[in-house]
């Protein structure tokens, strides 16, 4: 039996407070920085644009020369390559404004007549002119350390001529599947009691999807010595994920191993499925021990491991991908537990698939998302609007 069941939120808070984000920095070419966390403030050292530019195709003019121009009463200006009173110069969107011009007449409002141009619109100074620094001005703080870079951010930095950026090192997670019942996928004709290893594979794919580096170990059998060795020989990683061996049976050694070489913070958590989750710290590195039952494992992965690696990686809060839907029928929570009910979405309805059944991974695969029932909610009725956290 578990000595104690820790409330899910308290367990997470306790755990996350026990380790610090990675502070090491690396310098990368800007085109490799999508999704990375910038580790420096960037102040623009140039203006963008660094010259006055035409914002339209047309003719650069001195605005006062267009006084009185209208659709029925054009003003005639001489077309030339340099500005002067009474002169206009052909410009293209983005091309430099000729010295002395202060506005651009759109090509649609002009008519070329040999060496002259008829101007059919009276315009104000600065019309259709992009001023120096209108996009980014020199001295402006353009990126703050800690932001997760998106392609549009990188494009702005590239427009300043920046080639390289300082970013925080990306966490490396080691994944250790344990269990004497597990066999690799290349073994065929399983005997009774043998199952294919899938939790380690699933965890690896999720961490890769989330943008992290993964070292996936081979299956370790239920031996305290081998589990300890697997952990100790991978403490160069930033985070340790084990799978299996977290319950309270004879062959469940993982939490005791964590305790023997580090600190076991929590064993037994108020999430359902996922109660046998254990959380610990070894040499400052966070350890999430996923239960072997796959649905319990995925809930522990989403609820604890994802938050932990995001903290390690300096990644700011990011809202879950949520859709609202109407429950098609009643679901019940497990009192005292945060219950992860799996639901399928269909035409705005959330159709419950399962609230229990920690061993039924197909209930996750058939689901589009989770409805998460708080500890104090016994159940939700059909017809209630719920938030569905989509399963990536």
């Amino acid at each position: 039996m578990f000595k104690k069941r820790t409330n899910a939120d308290e367990a997470k808070e306790l755990f996350l407070n026990y380790f610090s984000p990675i502070t090491e920095i690396e310098v990368l070419p800007i085109e490799d920085c999508d999704g990375r966390i910038i580790a420096e403030n960037i102040t623009a050292t140039v203006d963008v644009p660094h010259y006055r530019r035409a914002a339209m195709d047309g003719f650069a003019v001195i605005a006062s020369d267009t006084l009185g121009a209208g659709s029925g009463s054009p003003v005639m200006l001489r077309s030339a390559n340099e500005m002067d009173k009474g002169v206009c110069v052909r410009v293209h969107t983005g091309s430099p404004m000729p010295e002395g011009a202060d506005a651009v007449v759109m090509i649609e409002d002009t008519q070329i007549r040999a060496d002259n141009v008829e101007i059919f619109a009276q315009i104000h100074p600065f019309k259709n002119v992009g001023e120096i620094g209108e996009d980014v001005s020199k001295g402006e703080l353009i990126q703050k350390s800690g932001h997760r870079l998106r392609p549009c951010d990188i494009a702005v930095l590239a427009s300043l001529g920046i080639d390289n950026l300082k970013v925080f090192r990306k966490p490396l997670v080691v994944i250790i599947p344990t269990g004497e019942e597990l066999v690799p996928r290349n073994k065929k004709d399983l005997k009774a009691g043998e199952v294919y290893e899938t939790n380690g594979l699933m965890a690896s794919l999720y961490f890769k999807k989330w943008g992290f580096d993964v070292r996936a170990l081979k299956i370790v059998t239920d031996s305290p010595g081998l589990i300890k060795e697997a952990i100790l020989s991978n403490l160069d990683a930033d985070m340790i994920i084990t799978s299996g061996g977290t319950s309270v049976g004879k062959r469940d050694y993982v939490p005791a191993v964590v305790e023997s070489i580090g600190k076991l913070l929590v064993h037994g958590v108020g999430i359902s499925p996922g109660k046998p989750t254990a959380l610990g710290i070894i040499e400052g590195k966070p350890v999430v021990c996923m239960p072997g039952y796959p649905v319990a494992g995925i809930v522990a992965l989403f609820y604890f491991a994802r938050s932990a690696i995001r903290k390690l990686g300096n990644i700011p809060d990011d809202p879950d991908r949520i859709v609202r839907a109407v429950l098609s029928e009643k679901i019940s929570g497990r009192t005292g537990y945060k219950t992860f009910a799996r639901v399928r979405l269909e035409n705005g309805k959330a159709i419950p698939l399962a609230t229990s059944g920690a061993g039924i991974l197909s209930s996750v695969s058939k689901a589009d998302g989770f409805v998460i029932l708080p500890e104090n909610v016994e159940g939700l009725n059909g017809g209630e609007e719920v938030e569905v956290v989509l399963i990536e």
Copy 2:
């Protein structure tokens, strides 16, 4: 001037109807299939589990042997390795049920007494037993062709012992930045009229983020011949993205080039920014011509190019990542256009940054998302609740 401005939705529908999804299939190891679109139906050829398993640590029993057992009145069973009447067998979660046993008494409800075990609970047949096929049953359709695989789906397939999957080939997009004003980032000390190429970089990073293959070409100057050559020599790609040269100025050759070698479907779209977008088809390949102004470019990328490549790639509809917020102040749309207002999010408020300014890329980088005003909406007032589409 644009001959015609096509409504945004109509332009998208016309465009998407002009080409077909990729039908070629490739076979990949299952661990490389995250995010890929499965191109076969998978029917389970085995049961998971393929044996009756204990769902708890404890003792396997014949349920009727526990009749009358209670916390104060244990029943005594003999501990053995094989089942028999009056006998119990130690089992672990997931281990095979001994032949003849029909239930498992949790370890917590037992007390070992030398060769005997006291049982403190009366249990029903099938209690704590996982039946054959309870997760996946043989013959069950477990994946339908067309689903975008998630790690949890792959884990279920792996639990069936599947090594490889048929998936649709991933689209390859070629990105062609055009414009004589553009210079590569390794050039320093720009002259007036020179700007760094950023739209091609940004588009490349978005397509990579979305999971596609990208071939990013070097800058092509404003020459119809060179633009044509760049397109024709890359028609092995599945989709063509050009950037720049889409307006109606003297140097804007891209739409005419598309028309000369394929079909120009749309030039001039009711999106703001983004009006000079052009859409076409060359040898059955969709072509999106992004305007050179970067905000117009990113809107064209999100609105047209993303939908197009998702269709090519057989990717099912996926809701945008949306958060709800309250507008902090009024924003105005451009009548007749779908207006992409950039907003920053702060404490549940959407703070408008810009609705126009196609050249001000920093307005995107400063934004968390877009509020999209439909064509017939003149504006939205401060205090109104809006949906903000997050900028990835």
